[in-house]
Subunit: 286 residues, 2 copies
Amino acid sequence: MKTRRSTRLVDMTYYLLQHPRRLVSLTFFAERYQSAKSSISEDLVIIKQTFEQQGVGTLQTIPGAAGGVKYIPYMNSIEADALIEELCRQLANPERLLPGGYLYMTDLLSNPRYINGAGRLFASLFAGQQVDAVMTVATKGIPLAYAVANYLDVPVVIARKDSRVTEGPTVSINYVSGSSKRIQTMTLAKRSIPEGANVLIVDDFMKAGGTIQGMISMLEEFQANVIGIGVLVEADHIEERLIEDYVSFIRLSEVNTRDKVIEVVKGNYALPEFKEEMVSEEEIKL
Amino acid sequence: MKTRRSTRLVDMTYYLLQHPRRLVSLTFFAERYQSAKSSISEDLVIIKQTFEQQGVGTLQTIPGAAGGVKYIPYMNSIEADALIEELCRQLANPERLLPGGYLYMTDLLSNPRYINGAGRLFASLFAGQQVDAVMTVATKGIPLAYAVANYLDVPVVIARKDSRVTEGPTVSINYVSGSSKRIQTMTLAKRSIPEGANVLIVDDFMKAGGTIQGMISMLEEFQANVIGIGVLVEADHIEERLIEDYVSFIRLSEVNTRDKVIEVVKGNYALPEFKEEMVSEEEIKL
């Protein structure tokens, strides 16, 4: 039985959101709804216009027999700024202060309401790059890295500070933690990144950047490319920053344990208005 | 300007999917689209019927001034079985064999295409329970646990095998790994679970169940309740299983390293047809 337009619009929106960045053929939708391809095309125009109008992404249409449509997620700058302001407000709570000037952030890093949004924002910022994998180091940044990977539809690669038997052969590197100057080890399964892959590094917190430098060294061992670096929170007033080119959502400008004051400001991210041209060329040529 | 129904249907579907299990008031939608509440109600009926027809969830409507609508995600059994069959097929590849009869699963556990689906399936199976948090132990199960938490709109709680300064005071317990009989330590930040919380335990792999037994002991320390246990893969032919009541998606029935044979079958999960009554009472009374 032919499906009504209203039902199709709801189900197509659902289907596309469940499969970000995946090519769906018009034939698939035509058969799913027992409808003509011309009707499906009209539906897709409505969905595309709605997404673009709301700034939540676009649909890419790829012509030809092997063609179809792809949903590219995006976040508009109003939603992005509201999310980051809310995170800043939460982080500035003096109850988060821990000995040594650390902040308790685990609750924010494990709350889908924030992490899902932050993941979509990172995916928006790197929408124009050809990303093959998202990399992080265990443990706290994993939900965030997974959320980014989900919106980019690529695997998440997790380096660890121990090595486990169930991962097969691994590569280990040593790196120097930028702030404590201690030598640390990082391990990654050999099978996890193919040579030449373009990798987006994501982490929850960056001080001097030693851990991220470690991930960069690891990627060199795999002959993979660093396509970008994104951190949720960066500490300010760092004497010697090891990493220059990165995106941050939040900057911790002051942590005063004695007076119990935390000062938090927006990081260096800048979200341009979404344009279809921003999506990488490789995507369009598929 | 008043928004057209077709545009409203697409954007409302998008909005509800981005906010699973969260109460959205009719006033919010009416203002967003400059439309009458009666029109919004009609839209919601279409969305609800479409979701239920496709078996991907439902909308709960809560009447009254503080009322609104909630999207409850679900997965139908056809989609669930297709996902599990695909995972079984992938797992049976003899190239996954590692020394000691272990299987390389990291690629599957870090691929959003599988993990997102498995997360939605766990969330469907526990849709009728009042879940306050999803718990796992670092590292490999974290993306899966986060995906479940995302669909249930609750935080994910991550126990670790080390303790880090940035988490504040922690609780540690010792537990015996069921298969290797070694004593291990598990640590969890004190702030992470409130007393009396209902916790769903999720892990990627279960052999005898020692690690899950450790999580149960940990939850006792927090005076929290185990509301359910879900594992992606369970090993079969276990002499002494420590855990009886659990849900598994996949059962590893044989791993023969010498002949390079892996036998994999569907686990013990059983997904009933979705009924609105299955959603927990607390949700409806909100």
